[in-house]
Symmetry: C2
Subunit: 289 residues, 2 copies
Amino acid sequence: MSEHTVDAVCIIGTGLIGGSLALALRQAGFCREIIGAGRTEETLIKAAELGVIDRYDTHIPGAVEHADIVVVCVPLGAMRAVFEQIDAGRNEHTIVTDAGSAKQSVIDDAHAVFGSDLQYFVAGHPIAGTEQSGVGAAFPELYQQRRVILTPTEETNTDALDRVRTMWQAAGAVVETMSAEHHDLVLAGTSHLPHLLAFGLVDCLNNLEDIDEIFRFAAGGFRDFTRIASSDPIMWRDICLSNRVQVMAMMKRYRDEMVKVYRALEDNDGEKLKEVFERAKRVRDAFCG
Amino acid sequence: MSEHTVDAVCIIGTGLIGGSLALALRQAGFCREIIGAGRTEETLIKAAELGVIDRYDTHIPGAVEHADIVVVCVPLGAMRAVFEQIDAGRNEHTIVTDAGSAKQSVIDDAHAVFGSDLQYFVAGHPIAGTEQSGVGAAFPELYQQRRVILTPTEETNTDALDRVRTMWQAAGAVVETMSAEHHDLVLAGTSHLPHLLAFGLVDCLNNLEDIDEIFRFAAGGFRDFTRIASSDPIMWRDICLSNRVQVMAMMKRYRDEMVKVYRALEDNDGEKLKEVFERAKRVRDAFCG
């Protein structure tokens, strides 16, 4: 009997998300060994040098062969291809989970690759991260007190779900479960739409003349507001496409809201504006205060 | 000869902006005396107790009577009424300046009250502030290294402009001048539109079911993005109305941008999305990095 909860965890994609999970699990003594895997050997060498992983394998089927849990931390657009490589190396009890920001698309990808055998697949999403990326930005406290949402399906094996829950708890996270559909709606509103709005604002201002001057006069509020526009473009392209139905629905809602605000301005309707602003301030202060 | 640059400064409206200016000028020894004025005696008493002002007068004509410089730090909607009271107490060389976030509307208000005698009126805008408000939030370092934009007109007296510039420099700010029109365009993009977008987002999400849950899953990025939605609703109603022409033009530009993004989602056009996100990230990293 080992003192560890599981023997080996394989983390595919050792960037900020995967690397921080590895560091947290190591600190917690959750497993005997952490195996890194991924496309780019340079990243894996760096992860090993930084002590984030114990060893690595660029051949994914080989890397997952002896792992109890495989955590896929790659952009959503790469999920399906990685699942195919996992499928070539996994055994029937290998638990596979992921850290993608949209969940229905990942479940669809898993379905397409693992067929109806989804018992040991547990879709998950840690609500954590910074606008930084890469293994150099990884740190073991990233998940402390952060929420991780798991979105099991009817087919999910209860033990597999418990294992993945225990893993995230070992990393310091608070784990909750909900349906993939509900997850995708909630995240479209609180994360995907805001990112689109921030990217769109900076791009829109970039088309103005005197752009240098415009940013020179930007105050702290602008910096905070646009911080998420410094996020990784590939990752966000994938998230938006993966959750496009919910994101488009949320954009429509938002457009209707902004049409209302525009009309209030057009009508010089200070009461209407004040009403919107007061309601927003009250809600934000209550939840984020 | 006194060791001070001017004898008395009167600050009308001793909230975060006016109070912080008073504290900074006092620390710099810019004037012998700072007189607070405003509508609410309770605020003035508190400002005096906190050592922000030397004395106060709720009667504005009396408060400005012996002041060399009068700084109006009230919401834009109250400017004209305050100018009328200043006009009843000022002498021909009293310099009047303001700290409003829109400039053409303030110049129009000054014109309406002071007539063609605008020599000693200098419109100004310190690009500083937090989502906090009130004299209790005031601190002397607020303007350190922050930009203050002055928007003189053809009528502005050069000495009056220099005096106001010297005052803000004494408070630690970097002072620049530009036309009111240009100021209003730049601020519409970097401040007024972002505030509207943030207020609008929180209000839009507030209309969804399960609102509690939605905010419960909001991550750090959402908190940063919506921080400005905790700003003062009255102040922002006034800013948006005062600068409505430029704000509406900026909202239209933004709508066009978001229509482009929506179409890319609709067409599953990852290349287009990536292009927008990459451009935005590059621009933001360059200016705010």
